[in-house]
Symmetry: C2
Subunit: 202 residues, 2 copies
């Protein structure tokens, strides 16, 4: 009963995480009343104008470089002022962005692309081989921060990575500190968090 382009749209967008068939229906009719060309172009530009860094797997805009040749690494990896001795391994790109916003981390990154879970790897996109190669080839590194979430999957992944890193004896392996989040009230903190906060007191 619906026009073919609408059912096509709904079918496609139903598969996007966070958008089910119901919201896809609503989106289709919302877009119908708007200038969809801007949205269509914004999507296309993601494929045409965004590259993935060969070194850390974060994204960058190759055309934004001032040099003659198009770069293959991102602006963080190319920045001569970053600390080349520290590498933060993050699960995903948005984690890197959150850490950059703190302005407290001067080092480099590696975007792992996923976490291990008790039922296997999530999404099968974890860049284990690439991470091993990076650590093997990068002679500057002195510390690897496993900047993963303090969840069951984050902990499991950290354990798996530590196994791999055991062969690199010169490396210091650390994780993000545990404690009370800013704004948290002691009364309502769970036992585990409070215990960690006491141990990491400063």
């Amino acid at each position: 009963m619906l026009p073919r382009p609408l059912t096509k749209f709904i079918e496609l967008f139903s598969k996007v995480p966070g958008i089910g068939p119901r919201q896809a229906h609503r989106l289709a009719f919302w877009f119908l009343k708007r200038d969809v060309y801007a949205f269509s172009m914004a999507l296309k530009d993601l494929a045409d104008k965004v590259s993935v860094c060969k070194q850390c797997f974060f994204v960058f805009d190759p055309s934004a470089s001032s040099g003659q040749e198009q770069p293959t690494t991102c602006s963080i990896c190319r920045n001569p002022n970053r600390d080349k001795t520290t590498l933060a391994v993050v699960e995903k790109e948005t984690d890197l962005i959150s850490i950059e916003k703190t302005k407290k981390y001067p080092g480099l990154y590696f975007v792992l692309g996923g976490l291990f879970s008790s039922t296997g790897r999530n999404g099968h996109e974890i860049r284990l081989k690439e991470l091993s190669q990076r650590i093997q080839n990068d002679k500057n590194l002195g510390e690897v921060i496993l900047a993963l979430s303090h969840t069951a999957e984050g902990d499991l992944t950290a354990m798996e990575l530590e196994k791999i890193f055991n062969q690199f004896k010169h490396l210091k392996i650390t994780r993000l500190g545990l404690g009370l989040p800013r704004g948290a009230e002691v009364e309502f903190a769970d036992e585990d968090t409070l215990a960690n906060a006491i141990q990491s007191r400063r």
Copy 2:
């Protein structure tokens, strides 16, 4: 720090209802790893290949018609087997789809495009003038069903529409029946619903 095409995407898609800045970020990185051309094309086709019916304001695919000339009305309005004496006024396109799925309504539709609310019209897109004209010009009509939600806004809109319809003395104006939804347990039904169910017993 993010490539311009990514920030552009996030900026645009943050404005879509149901998608905030956070989900727009996540979507951007999700799309980056996929074939976005299909999605981009699906969006563009909404504008290029979907028309709005001049009579009921539902959507249709003009190229799907077998005739020589491209039609200006949808397949429901053009269907000679539909009951031309009954018109169901619905708030939005997805309501029409829900009613069509019941296969219990043989009549025609009018998509109002919004509801009145206590703070004014929602979205300023309510097609009051078009509805009046439709009713004035369509001499076949005998009944108008105000197929609006039984919410405060639906009730308010029904009241406003009834005021307008008062001038058409020959028309029977009805609303959707009130009662218990399928699967509901009497014990847990609210008083209002239960009272309505008793009154509409059959």
